[in-house]
């Protein structure tokens, strides 16, 4: 977000602002943000990369014998929290390093950096513009989130007030204060569902922004007596929440590598190969872009979420859409990721898939022009269209067969991630849901 302070400047700034607490943030493999909070007195120590934490206390991080981890704050991510009036607080996003001074391979931010370096060595940087959807629900009397979106208490003397809309407005203002450039913010299709889009940034900043965004949205929602959820499909029968990823590659001299005025659809060869890579690896990176049991309940026909692995320049139904804008705005929109994804790992996997396409000159299949939902099986088979995994188990299996994506996230993350995902799957499989009770309790 572009405040490039030196250590000294930042120390001075922190004193000027009378900060009390600084939160050192990082993200675990499952995409949950973790915090090590320090007081202003410890800031200098933090800036010298001397803040340590016990890695074994974090889920799926490390074994106990290698538990000493160091946090290296990225000074460009320094942001003051606009919502704390009583005690001023700020944060910095950190990379996790091992005691011997090497990057920890279980830190998702390091993983993304590694793949970005590969892209850089091939002559590209990646730009990402996410579109993040979420639901705002009321909390019940016990403070637990409910699925309620409307006030049922009637205030007959007052015009109906859009609590969710007001909260969203407040979120937009807060995010702006934190340095976000907001492109759009609107009500989504489902009741209680909202979307806020922010301007594209380089992939690392975009991933940081997604994490910051989720935190800010939750906090502001709470200040409005609401609960914000990024769960992919909270309610049966209405649209789920996605996190469409708009992306493009930029050459090192600042040109959009996907644009070619002469090419078919004004897309460059690079764009087609990148697209080819995405299509080829879509089934295997789904585990990372859609990492929960619930994610696959969103990826069903009829709710604007993609099911089939196909692409189109005009149609919004397939997995990949090429938005109409050309020139510097030429980009590819991937529509399956959801906001439960760990943005660092998801972007690392997507980018790697695209790079593989460029390296091996993978050509994408022909675009689909008609609405893919209306195709029958025969037609799909003819066109060679497959579908995304149907559940988390299938997705993890697909991931296990794809060396390219496994290489992108590294052996450590792969192992911890699949352990966690399979654990989720088996727990889910064992549980008895309300659906089953409704269906079978009387019948048998």
């Amino acid at each position: 977000m572009g405040c490039n302070y030196t250590k000294e400047e930042l120390l001075k700034k922190a004193t000027e602002l009378e900060l009390e607490f600084i939160h050192l943030q990082f993200t675990d493999i499952l995409g949950v943000m973790k915090n090590v909070s320090i007081t202003i007195e410890q800031l200098e120590k933090a800036l010298n990369n001397e803040i340590m934490f016990d890695g074994s206390s974090i889920d799926g991080f490390v074994r106990i014998e290698e538990s000493d981890m160091y946090l290296r704050p990225d000074l460009s991510t320094f942001v003051v929290f606009p919502w704390t009036n009583h005690a001023k607080e700020a944060r910095m996003i950190c990379d996790v390093y091992k005691a011997d001074g090497t990057p920890f391979e279980g830190c998702p931010r390091n993983t993304l950096k590694k793949v970005l370096k590969e892209a850089y060595d091939m002559g590209y940087t990646m730009n990402v513009g996410p579109e993040c959807e979420f639901f705002l629900f009321h909390t019940d009397e016990r403070g637990e989130p409910s699925l309620e979106t409307h006030d049922n208490a009637g205030y007959f003397d007052l015009a109906p007030i859009d609590l969710g809309g007001n909260a969203r407005k407040d979120m937009t203002i807060t995010l702006k204060q934190m340095g976000f450039e907001i492109e759009a913010s609107h009500h989504e299709v489902a009741p209680g569902q909202h979307e806020i889009d922010f301007k594209y940034e380089d992939a690392l900043t975009a991933a940081d922004n997604i994490m910051t965004f989720k935190m800010a949205v939750r906090i502001i929602a709470q200040r409005h007596g609401l609960h914000a959820t990024f769960m992919p499909k909270p309610k049966f029968g209405i649209n789920g929440s996605g996190m469409h990823i708009n992306m493009s590659l930029e050459t090192l001299d600042g040109k959009n590598a996907f644009y070619d005025g002469e090419g078919e659809l004004e897309l460059s060869k690079t764009a087609y190969h990148y697209l080819g890579g995405i299509i080829k690896h879509a089934r295997s990176f789904a585990a990372l872009t859609n990492p929960t049991v619930n994610s696959y309940k969103r990826l069903v026909p009829g709710y604007e979420a993609p099911v089939l692995i196909a692409w189109s320049a005009s149609n919004r139904s397939p997995l990949v859409r090429i938005p109409a804008k050309r020139g510097n705005s030429t980009r590819i929109e991937l529509r399956n990721p959801d906001p439960a994804a760990n943005p660092y790992l998801a972007l690392a996997a997507i980018l790697k898939a695209g790079l593989d396409g460029i390296q091996n000159k993978i050509n994408p299949p022909a675009p689909v022009m008609s609405n893919v939902y209306h195709m029958d099986d025969v037609e799909m088979k003819e066109k060679g269209i497959t579908s995304l995994p149907e559940n988390l188990y299938e997705a993890v299996n697909e991931l296990s067969k794809d060396e390219v994506i496994k290489d992108a996230i590294g052996a450590h993350v792969y192992e911890k991630f699949t352990d966690a995902a399979l654990y989720e799957w088996y727990e889910y499989s064992k549980s008895v849901s309300k659906w089953e009770l409704d269906r079978y309790l009387r019948k048998f």
Binding site: T139, D157, G225
Partner: protein, 189 residues
Amino acid sequence: MDSYRIVVADSSESSRKLICKLLNKKGYKTYQATDGAGAIRISRSVFPKLLIMDTNLWGMNAYEAARIIEEDQLSTVLFVTSNPTNSFYQKLKNMNVFAYVMKPIHPDQLYQMVEFSIMNGSKMHQLSKKIEKLESTLENRKKIDRAKGLLIEHLRISEEEAYKLLRRKSMDACISMDQMAEKIIKKYI
């Protein structure tokens, strides 16, 4: 007495109803909330003059909810408690008005505290608005002086000329003088 809107947040139904009944008798319009988040939601909808809140509220902590409501200037908060401990007094110090109502409710005390809190709450509110305005005027004044100084130094003109130039430039650009001053400061530094 004006018919102000008051939100009553109390997880005990009997106590909530009692307070509302007493307030209605005096002509206040009341709204009820059973938990912290609910109190915030109602306050954001009706913008009450006062929020009467039991410290022992379900869901979100009462002090947390009260802090948000006062920080975002949705209302003044008046606590109700049966147990005014030391830590309660400490927390009360950070609120708009240092006042509370004891449980069991004594109607006269309730009426007195409600009036007191509404009056003092609005006085506090007016004062803080005034301070805010003065601070921003002062801040702008400083900026304009700074910009004027820079213009005098760089263009070698008199103070009056510098002021006129600044005024003309801001009029041409259709922005306020302090915004133009900011631009000038940025340009020269």
